[in-house]
């Protein structure tokens, strides 16, 4: 009896494999054909692929995508992997390409890993914009972002000012994450200008406030003369504040945080965090959606036929800058 079933199984697999291997796809595209909006607008799908999707940081970007989709009358999908494995991003991108997305916005987990897929999308006629982190070696049309390095520079300078140009500082981050490494580089270079400031520790906050607090506490214990913390991701600030507060050094040890989640904002009001660097994540997402929408409708008439000319009318780089949140303007940033 089970022999018969095994045979059925084998036949089913073979049939499946044959179906798979044969025939051209139903959605096969010629690379040079223009994207016609033959599909009703509501089915025009724009896919935003983030990274570490559970992180509160992406709330702004998600709002940007959804608001833009509503305003433009198209479908906006916010998606991405739980972790920061670029392979999973690529998987999602491939799925998006195959199902005929009309535009892809991606936050590359790493600049290189996404290159083949972005190029495949472009070659298939799907415009791609990178956001927040760039993939300069790919064929993406535009990068919209803060420039992580630039943000780090501003943060480093702010921290230096807060501690009056002298003292020991520590940085909190998630090691290995590309954009954070860039910010750390910015902090380092900024601080290097101040000969009396030394970075004595770089802690791993594991993207979570509790872990950040624990890490910050150990750093404080190891370096009792610490003057300040520089945090390059959203979890670091709140965590450092907890550690500093518990050690009774609230306000004495200065903290420069990252991003605008409500917990950080409260701490700025309380004076435990001196300032936070926020990115215009909402703007990045909204702008990207708008740009892709306009591009698809050939509205930016730099030349009559940009595809034929092989020059995309969109800007290559858009710097959305850094916003410094201080006790003065903090109230405006609550969600």
């Amino acid at each position: 009896m089970s022999k018969a079933l095994n045979i059925i199984l084998a036949i089913a697999t073979v049939v499946f494999a044959v179906l798979y291997l044969t025939a051209r796809s139903a959605t096969h595209k010629e690379p040079s054909a223009p994207v016609q909006p033959v599909t009703p607008a509501a089915e025009e799908e724009y896919v935003f692929i983030a990274v570490s999707v559970g992180n509160a940081y992406w709330i702004d970007a998600r709002d940007g995508v959804e608001d833009a989709a509503k305003a433009l009358g198209v479908k906006g999908t916010f998606t991405g992997p739980q972790g920061s494995d670029v392979k999973q991003q690529v998987d999602i991108m491939e799925t998006a390409i195959t199902r005929g997305a009309k535009g892809i916005i991606v936050v590359p987990a790493e600049p290189e890993g996404v290159v083949p897929s972005i190029n495949r999308a472009i070659d298939a006629g799907i415009p791609v914009i990178t956001v927040d982190t760039d993939s300069p070696n790919s064929k993406r049309y535009t990068f919209i972002g803060t420039g992580n390095y630039a943000a780090g520079l501003i943060g480093g300078d702010l921290l230096a000012q807060e501690i009056s140009g002298r003292g020991e500082v520590a940085l909190l981050m998630i090691p290995g994450q590309w954009n954070l490494e860039e910010r750390k580089r910015g902090y380092r270079d900024a601080v290097a200008k101040y000969p009396d400031i030394k970075i004595v520790a770089v802690g791993n906050d594991r993207a979570e406030e509790g872990q950040a607090a624990a890490e910050a506490k150990s750093i404080l214990q190891a370096h009792p003369n610490l003057a300040g913390f520089g945090c390059v991701d959203a979890a670091g600030g709140a965590g450092a504040a907890v550690a500093v507060g518990d050690a009774g050094k609230g306000g004495t040890v200065k903290i420069i945080a990252m991003d605008r989640n409500d917990a950080t904002l409260d701490l700025i009001k309380k004076g435990l965090i001196q300032a936070s660097l926020a990115q215009r994540s909402y703007t990045m997402a909204y702008l990207a959606m708008q740009m892709l929408y306009d591009l698809n409708r050939d509205r930016i008439k730099m030349v009559a036929d940009w595809r034929g000319a092989k020059t995309c009318p969109l800007p290559t780089l858009v710097d959305t800058g850094t916003v410094v949140i201080t006790p003065e303007n903090v109230n405006y940033f609550y969600h």
Binding site: S2, A109, G113
Partner: protein
């Protein structure tokens, strides 16, 4: 009448348990049908050849690991370090290529690094006797750390273009196209499954996992068999890393994150019992296919990303529970409902 109903449910239960692979295949087809129907709007995006190509490529690296993991689980063990070994394999291979080592040799050394992890796992588990869960948890963390240290979180880039071509491009033979990773996956799965069914040495894993003492008394070298499964898994994980790097034309330190949980879930869905002695590679592959199809379907349907985990976790629990349901449980459940 009742007695007949009972016999019927018992019969169905026995069928489900005895023919796991067919059941999963049916579930996959059911899920496909479900997704197909649930697609809003006119256009079919799910049941297209292109989409299925994407699914196949997406699961190709996990599939290599699932082969090894199934062997490990059947032999009564557990390997959490596959994700980290994937990253290691990719990094070792790519670093060597960047400094000019010929591609085949670089790949060979990469695979060897995976074997090394497997040897370490096997040694600690069999000779020192540490529990496999703890051991592979340890190697998972250590290997991941080694990866971070080796490349200081900078992904390895600047790989020779030939590398990307070899492991990733479509091979065209008129209208037939297959992606190489998919080909590698299918060949590995089919060969491994057949070998596990017919090759005497491999079948020893069933003895070792089914009843370790008895296997020993029968003269089976239990330690050698167990070590073998870990080494095979290490090599396959490294191979997955090589394929992964070729697809992404880079090697990063956080590749293969969470892969171990996906792979173990796939093996368990496919019928492998965590207490050892049961499971097939075909079943594990189908389990992986099911997970891949569901993930893909959820993407296409635009399911809220925060829901995805709940759905995937529920499927795993469901798959394992089906094994354990028996007639008495059903009766108790119905009784409880009546109350």
């Amino acid at each position: 009448m009742r007695r007949d109903m009972n016999r019927l449910t018992d019969g169905i239960g026995a069928f489900l348990k005895g023919h796991r692979e067919v059941v999963i295949l049916l579930v996959v087809m059911l899920v496909c049908a479900g997704f197909y129907i649930l697609q809003r709007g006119g256009r079919n995006q799910f049941m297209t050849v292109d989409n299925w190509r994407v699914i196949a490529v997406n699961i190709s690296t996990d599939a290599l690991m699932v082969v090894g993991m199934t062997l490990v689980i059947i032999a009564g063990g557990f390997d959490l370090s596959v994700g980290s070994t994937l990253a290691l394999g990719g990094i070792v291979t790519c670093k060597l290529m960047v400094i000019g080592v010929p591609i085949p040799i670089a790949i060979a050394v990469g695979l060897l690094s995976g074997a090394l992890v497997g040897i370490v796992n096997g040694f600690i588990i069999t000779k020192i006797g540490v529990n496999p869960l703890i051991t592979t948890l340890g190697t998972m963390i250590i290997v991941r750390g080694v990866c971070l240290v080796a490349i200081q979180a900078n992904p390895v880039t600047g790989l020779p273009s030939a590398f990307a071509k070899i492991a990733d491009t479509m091979r065209l033979t008129s209208t037939f196209t297959v992606a190489y990773p998919v080909l590698i996956m299918l060949v590995t799965v089919v060969v491994a499954d057949l070998m596990l069914r017919h090759f005497k040495f491999l079948r020893q894993v069933y003895y070792v996992g089914g009843n370790e003492e008895a296997a020993r008394f029968s003269g089976i070298n239990v330690d050698r068999v167990r070590s073998f499964t870990y080494i095979v898994t290490g090599v396959l994980a490294a191979a997955a890393g090589v394929v992964n790097s070729s697809r992404l034309i880079s090697a990063s330190a956080n590749a293969g994150e969470r892969a171990e949980l996906r792979v173990i879930s796939a093996a368990v869905i496919g019928g492998a019992s965590l207490s050892g002695g049961a499971g097939t590679i075909l079943g594990a592959f189908l389990g992986l296919l099911l997970v891949g199809v569901i993930e893909n379907g959820m993407e296409i349907l635009g399911v809220n990303i925060y829901m995805k985990n709940i759905i995937l976790g529920s499927i795993l629990i469901l798959a394992v529970t089906i094994d354990r349901i028996n007639r008495d449980m059903i009766k108790r459940f119905l009784y409880w409902l009546k109350k």
